[in-house]
Amino acid sequence: MSAGLPELSGLDRLIHEPARLLIMSVLYTAEQADFTYLLTETGLTRGNLSSHLSRLEEAGYITIEKTFRGKVPQTLCSLTAQGKTAFETYRSQLKELSRRLSEV
């Protein structure tokens, strides 16, 4: 099991948090998703979701765009190139870790 530990410690903790991992996974699949969709998908409170989105934005992983859909304000989130790379790295690290653990 110790063979997998270096990878475990190298995992991106910002993405590793379940709610943020879910947000990143959704945004990796879609081009953009709005706040309401992420709220529905994550089941978080509005405050919690805002906090997670802010942390991802601060890390440069996502962009948050405030716009209008008709007369309704809309908050659109999308993954940045840096966020895409970070997510892909996280996934490959996790896969490698899982492979090593299955070998033990």
């Binding site: 879910l22 996974s25 959704v26 990796y28 699949t29 879609a30 081009e31 953009q32 998703a33 709005d34 706040f35 309401t36 969709y37 992420l38 709220l39 529905t40 998908e41 859909r69 008709g70 309704v72 304000p73 809309q74 908050t75 659109l76 996934r91």
Partner: protein, 210 residues
């Protein structure tokens, strides 16, 4: 299954959550059925049949375009305010072109195979052989997006293929009946999905920020 894979499928499946696409697809099938009724009603003339034959792909393309716009219009009013908006990735222009070319080649190959088989298949069985690829495509969609109700739709479409055979219908009317029943299947599937979606979701207050 990989947890990311499940989230990916769930995000893609969201497009079908409200049943609106199925209702639009049902309209296209209904219009195609009407075209076949017209072919049955109008006295057989090569020129008219040629024109009506040309009408099928034109109707599918027009239905695809108008249907897509109608679905987006209703999603803006029904779905996005309730459960949010997702914009899906569009394939790169060169990949889109390659996909289009591949689709054209496959369609041509299927048409050629179908044409060579059609002469050896009794005419009464043609609706069954028409229903089969439609049902297979619906099964492919069901697997691709994890849409369980599409398995039921595929089974119903396959059964619909036997309906003209059981009723002893042949020719244009047999095709019209098959396509008409397929339209009803999509409407039912879409309407049930929409009803379930509306029951499970609520429209947020006016000051809600999406």
């Amino acid at each position: 299954m990989d947890q990311y894979e499940e989230i990916r499928r769930r995000t893609l499946r969201y497009w079908y959550v409200d049943g609106l696409t199925e209702i639009a697809v049902g309209v296209v099938f209904f219009l195609l059925a009407m075209l076949f009724v017209l072919m049955g009603v109008i006295a057989p003339s090569p020129a008219i049949h040629w024109l009506l034959g040309l009408g099928q792909p034109a109707l599918i393309l027009l239905g695809w375009w108008v249907g897509g716009r109608a679905v987006r219009y209703f999603k803006e009013r029904i779905t996005y305010p309730r459960t949010g908006y997702v914009e899906y990735k569009r394939p790169q222009p060169n990949r889109r072109l390659a996909k289009l070319a591949l689709t054209a080649v496959i369609s041509f190959a299927v048409a050629m195979i179908a044409a060579s088989f059609a002469s050896s298949i009794p005419e009464a069985w043609l609706p069954v052989f028409t229903a089969a690829p439609i049902a297979l495509f619906v099964i492919y969609m069901a697997i691709q997006f994890g849409l369980r109700r599409f398995y039921l739709a595929a089974a119903a479409i396959m059964l619909a293929g036997f309906l003209p055979l059981l009723l002893g219908l042949e020719g244009a009317y047999a095709s019209a009946l098959l396509l008409g029943v397929v339209a009803v299947i999509w409407w039912l599937s879409g309407a049930l999905a929409l009803r379930s979606y509306l029951r499970q979701t609520t429209l947020p207050a006016k000051d809600w920020q999406a």
